[in-house]
């Protein structure tokens, strides 16, 4: 399967100040039964974005004008903790988000994001908190994510370098997926399996 290649991103950053924002908040469990063909962007942050009657919650950041067109999430620590639901990543991606910057991520969310064209960017907590302050003080601030260079350009002009494993970077930049690559290794897997099973597992 091919994904869209990840391009340099120059976009409005949406501040999420709540730490431990779990995947139940990103995509409530009742939407897990929807087939992937749905636009999961409609369900993104559903219970934070909308009231019971379907009306917008004015207080929620994505319902505020400069942020509606945001493409980058700027979040507090442990973003995407909790459930392994890949639907949380689909929801962010379908809505239009392409990167999430946070001091830390739920491990499973991090892995899911990389496989779906959503770039998770871990940066030191003091840097992220400072960026959150800047963005909140000037709503609509833009940030630039350059995956090739592995840098984030903050609204204050400071450049921050981030880590990503070389393979995932390659896949994102080229729009490739990992499974295609792994399927090319089935002979090696079968060899390993033979030895593994002979050794008694």
């Amino acid at each position: 399967m091919s994904l869209k290649p990840f391009e340099r991103l120059d976009a409005i950053a949406v501040p999420i100040t709540q730490p431990n924002l779990d995947t139940d908040q990103i995509l409530p469990a009742r939407y897990l039964q929807k087939p992937r063909a749905n636009n999961f962007g409609e369900y993104l942050f559903r219970d934070l974005r909308f009231g019971k009657d379907g009306s917008e919650q004015a207080g929620f950041v994505l319902n505020q004008t400069p942020y509606r067109d945001g493409r980058i999430i700027l979040a507090a620590r442990n973003f995407g903790c909790g459930s392994s639901r890949e639907h949380a990543v689909w929801a962010l991606h379908d809505y239009g988000f392409r990167a999430v910057i946070a001091p830390s991520f739920g491990d499973i969310f991090y892995a899911n994001a990389l496989k779906n064209g959503l770039l998770p960017i871990p940066l030191p907590e003091p840097s992220v908190l400072a960026m959150l302050d800047t963005v909140q003080a000037a709503p609509g601030s833009r940030m630039v994510v350059d995956l090739e260079a592995q840098t984030v350009l903050a609204p204050d002009g400071a450049s921050h370098t981030f880590d990503i494993n070389a393979f995932s970077k390659h896949c994102l930049l080229k729009g490739l997926d990992e499974l295609g690559y792994t399927l090319g290794l089935l002979d090696q897997i079968a060899d390993f399996e033979r030895r593994f099973e002979q050794a008694g597992s």
Partner: protein
């Protein structure tokens, strides 16, 4: 050769034995011994179909529906929502088509995968176990490396029986000393999460150690490892010992005969070497652990039941203060309130955290000869059909029913409510589950996490209660 090797942890022994190859970026292709498949897996099977691939090693997969099954009957048709019915139906069809062994809804052994796996002897020490569910960490209790994965990874495991993994760091959490009466494994793990935080173990595999952990039954160990993910850990594990081996002996899918002897020999060599080094260490004393209860919307928001609702004003960081205020507003709690004065509307005993026989026994011991408080709806949902049958053989269902509990069929049920078992907005639930997230048990529902004994105590008093006091007769 053994003598020349650097001391290794339990994790390192399993990791290196399952490493098929390493990529230049350091990621390892890990062989998967056991793939547990739940009824949320339809998207993964769909991905597989789109590529025209069939599961490569169906004998290394096992399926049972748990998230989308009714718990008031065994008839899928009783579920009004066709999408929900379709999830369980899809799993049974996908498993049958792929030749994956499954316990369907009409099988008396059906249940929550993380209860069924160990119970059936499908989860072995020294193996790598994955499932498209974050609570897969549960199986680490037998000394396995077990972790949750997303749908794309489920698809990859079905297609290749392998997964690319970044090598996690290791963390040893030692708990020493004897637990007091009324304090159990659930309190231990809640205390650990309270201490290290919901992100305390991100990027790490935890090995639980120390005399308290060693003294826990298998059921208790499964509870502890289950909530590793709630501390952010990739996985949690406990070295196999006599408790593990006697638990696994004679289970339907455990090795038997000569193979059993061979495997036990391997399992005995798995515990971390005495001088093995961990990237991080943490310690707790069992004496400090009281019955715990959560007050907020993250499992890290936890206090002893003897404590009070904390005051956000006392929080050091503004970010923490804001998070606490938000949590208390959702939970409808006022700072300074005694936890043991908070009234509840519902009780849920069950889930992959606390739906095992020992959990039901401990709750029944509290409920015996008592009544569920007026106005409280209380449920017991056994973790599996086998647990249910065992509990009924012991007469536990009579105790629960006589007290006014509903005695239901096995499934995930109110832990996340995907099958429609949810609370009403504003209801407050004493729950033996693993997540008190906003809306987890239904929109606007307030969840307090606690042990089965504590949930049983809440059921009979109608409020959060110290089970020790109730059992000592100090409570009306």
């Amino acid at each position: 050769m053994q003598a020349q090797q650097a001391p290794r942890t339990l994790f390192e022994k399993i990791w290196s034995r399952h490493s098929i190859m390493q990529r230049p970026d350091g990621q390892v292709l890990l062989y998967i011994d056991q793939h547990l498949v739940q009824d949320g897996s339809a998207p993964a099977f769909e991905m597989l179909r789109q590529r025209g691939i069939t599961p490569r090693v169906p004998s290394r997969a096992f399926a049972t529906p748990d998230h989308y099954v009714p718990t008031d009957s065994r008839d899928l048709a009783t579920m009004a929502d066709p999408e929900k019915r379709q999830m369980a139906t899809a799993l049974m069809q996908d498993a049958a088509r792929a030749g994956i062994r499954s316990f369907d809804l009409d099988d008396p052994r059906q249940g929550i995968l993380h209860v069924v796996g160990p119970e059936q002897g499908l989860s072995w020490p020294g193996t790598v176990i994955v499932c498209g569910d974050s609570h897969t960490s549960t199986h680490g209790a037998v000394g396995a490396l077990a972790f949750g994965i997303g749908a794309t990874e489920v698809c990859q495991v079905l297609a290749t029986q392998s997964l690319w993994q970044r090598r996690p760091k290791t963390m040893r959490i030692a708990v020493d000393g004897r637990l007091a009466a009324g304090v159990c494994a659930k309190d231990v793990i809640l205390a650990i999460i309270g201490k290290i935080g919901a992100a305390g173990a991100v990027g790490h595999v935890i090995e639980y150690a120390g005399s308290t952990i060693a003294s826990l039954s298998m059921e208790g160990r499964l509870t502890v490892c289950n909530m590793s993910i709630e501390a952010g850990a990739r996985a949690g594990m406990i070295a196999p010992d006599d408790t593990t081996i006697s638990y696994l002996a004679g289970r339907p899918f455990s090795p038997a005969g000569k193979a059993w002897e061979e495997q036990v020999g391997r399992w005995r060599a798995l515990p971390s070497d005495p001088d093995a080094r961990f990237d991080r260490e943490a310690n707790l004393s069992a004496h400090e652990i009281e019955p715990m209860v959560t007050w907020g919307t993250s499992p890290e928001d936890v206090v002893a039941v003897t404590g009070r609702v904390p005051d956000p004003a006392a929080a050091g960081q503004p970010q923490r203060r804001e998070a606490m205020q938000r949590a208390l507003a959702y939970m409808g709690l006022t700072p300074g309130t005694c936890m043991a004065e908070v009234p509840i509307d519902r009780v849920f005993i069950g889930s992959c955290t606390n739906g095992r026989i020992e959990d039901l026994r401990s709750a029944a011991a509290v409920v015996r000869d008592r009544k569920v408080a007026s106005g409280v709806a209380a449920w017991v949902v056994p973790g599996s059909g086998v647990v249910k049958a065992q509990a009924e053989a012991e007469g536990l269902h009579h105790i629960f029913r006589a007290a006014g509990f509903e005695w239901r069929y096995a499934g995930c049920s109110m832990c996340l409510g995907t099958n429609g078992d949810i609370g009403a907005p504003g209801q407050r639930i004493a729950s033996t589950t693993n997540r008190n997230f906003v809306g987890r048990q239904g929109a606007g529902v307030r969840t307090h996490l606690m042990s089965p004994m504590m949930a049983a105590a809440a059921a009979v008093t109608g409020r959060l209660s110290d089970v020790r006091q109730l059992m000592a007769g100090g409570m009306a």
